[in-house]
Symmetry: none
Subunit: 215 residues, 4 copies
């Protein structure tokens, strides 16, 4: 599907799945827009701000992109492509639930740096974007990620690796929210890298904040 229009300069009519026409200029614009979206939110960022920062006029952006939405589409789909790929890979071979969950946490944290903008946009503007059919893939991806996490959690409960009195769906949502919310304040040049954050989070999630001998 969607074979026509390949190689055309604009992304008109393109759907998620067909790669957008690559170009250095275009990539730079996407990165630039991503930064603004992350700082201010998608809706709150104007195409003029993007154009201003690129040193061109706002109308000129439309030589590279169909619309403001198509820019954010590129940012979001790239994030979700990576996220899903790494999630699937993490659980592909099955194995110890603790190891798998540790891996999923690491995978999510690993997205914080390269995909900070996408994560921020999803948190701030998801309720707006999901109303547009073009972004149906957002919910599809979320559902698959949820299935993977809750699968691992349930499997761990069955095998006795995780407490059986926990609600897997609730636990997943708590973990997911805590991780993605990090994007709001995480700064790559701070004292902690995303690996540190993942390790800290894993420890708290697995063993809690209470020392073991205490209970």
């Amino acid at each position: 599907m969607d074979t026509e229009n390949d190689g055309a300069p604009r992304g008109r009519g393109r759907r998620h799945g067909a790669a957008p026409p690559a170009s250095e200029r275009r990539d730079a614009l996407v990165r630039l827009a991503a930064g603004l979206f992350a700082e201010q939110g998608f809706q709150a960022t104007t195409v003029r701000q993007i154009a201003d920062q690129a040193g061109i006029l706002s109308g000129s952006l439309y030589h590279h992109f169909d619309s403001k939405e198509s820019i954010v589409d590129e940012i979001l789909s790239s994030f979700l492509d990576d996220l899903l790929r790494d999630h699937r890979a993490a659980v592909a071979d099955g194995g110890d639930p603790r190891r798998l969950l540790t891996e999923l946490i690491a995978v999510a944290h690993a997205c914080l740096e390269p995909h900070r903008a996408a994560i921020t946009v999803l948190q701030n503007d998801r309720c707006y974007l999901r109303r547009l059919s073009r972004f149906d893939y957002l919910d599809r991806a979320e559902r698959e990620v949820r299935r993977i996490w809750t699968g691992v959690l349930r499997d761990g409960q069955d095998r006795g690796a995780f407490r059986s009195d926990l609600d897997p769906g609730l636990t997943y949502r708590t973990a997911r929210d805590a991780i993605w919310a990090t994007a709001r304040w995480y700064r790559p040049d701070g004292p902690l890298d995303t690996g540190d954050l993942a390790r800290h989070f894993t420890r708290v999630l697995f063993d809690g904040i209470v020392p073991e001998q205490h209970t």
Copy 2:
């Protein structure tokens, strides 16, 4: 050049702290706006949508409020007033850090239902609102809440109630984000009430998801 408004119904010139002029109609409008802000975000909600849902014209809203901002101000300051009051009360008498932290978690979860709109707005539109000097109290409140949580956490570490290898600031942020993010999906008519959520969250935070005999 704003003239004072003795007895006038609009909230012109009021500051945070002075009670807004009470009125049933006004309260109903605030609740109505809160619902829309929570669903769509503050910026994405138009005064016309609020007025439409109230069955009046958008200009008529300004009989009751100065501005769209003053509506959200009322919603947010009411939330933060409650939140700070309950936080201060929770730690007022000091005592066992585990009990205090349990209490803080309960206090935060107790806000999920009455202040869902405010919490959602703060997550979606904080980066916009904090630029307005009128909302300086947002950061002030956040700092005080953070001080209270990290104080309890540090005290617990000193007394051996909490693991000493955790970063109190990081732990606070993780907990905070996980709790407030709940407002995005929590529905009062669902199977779980906010007490259940608080208990679930407390258990995971204290003891982790791994059964004790496991490690």
Copy 3:
């Protein structure tokens, strides 16, 4: 004409000539509005400002007045009634042109204090008001005043009292503008009263600023 409706509380449909229903409250409101119109201009003053300063709600003003225009109508027609009456009286008995002109200058200056608001409104908002047929009397009054002044000036030229090389219309306009513009900066509590201003102006107009022996 216009005999019906006398004694009715509101001025509805009333035309210039029929006295508005007197009332202390009403007069106080007119004076109050006059002050605001003088400070800010008619268009720039809102009925809410008037009501605020009267300590009532803006809607309540409409128990006393038909409209904002009817308030300014009262202010303006009162001024022009006085101005025309005094102009007519000043030239009624004819006589020495210098004396008559001195008298006209005095009459105009005498209006500065009691009718400062009307004069200011006429300068700031005349181009707006004259488009409304209700204010046709503004131009009628201006024409009569001009006739009186230029009559005196021409008569003075004929009799050798005023230089014959001056354009009476131009001289009238210059004098008129200089006098009315005074309303913009004149303050009753300043060091000069309107009599001083009239004398200063008369001297400059009659003899110029150059000492006589100089030329």
Copy 4:
């Protein structure tokens, strides 16, 4: 949070002194707006009227200007730049007070035609504009002009060129008001040009309307 606009057509963030981005279209719009401001006043003129007369939509004006205020700013600052420059030049070399004052009167009248709109706006809307800090330069310019006129007048009094019983400040204000008020009725296509007006005014101001032998 306004981003800089390198090369962008709008005048965003410019200050008085920095030349606005020149453009034929833009200049035409300014002239067009000036005409409307002069006829109706600044506040009473809507951006829609300006746009209508330019044959574009009101929003399209904002491609060229930041705001309605920035349009009038351009009109006013252009006038005051010229006025101050010519005033300074007129008195730069000092000399006979009568010659200097004649020159100042000529300079002011010479502004009537090219800057009629600015003069009219200043008379009608000054009390509104001066409240905006952006227009602080209005008062600064007025003060300098006043200093120049009263300096010449006082100097003339000292040298016996002007009557010593006149109040220089009062005389300045009278002259200023009479000259600027001319802008309200002066039409370039009338029988008198601004030179005629200046000469007429100079004669009345210097020698009065009474023939010399008369007194």
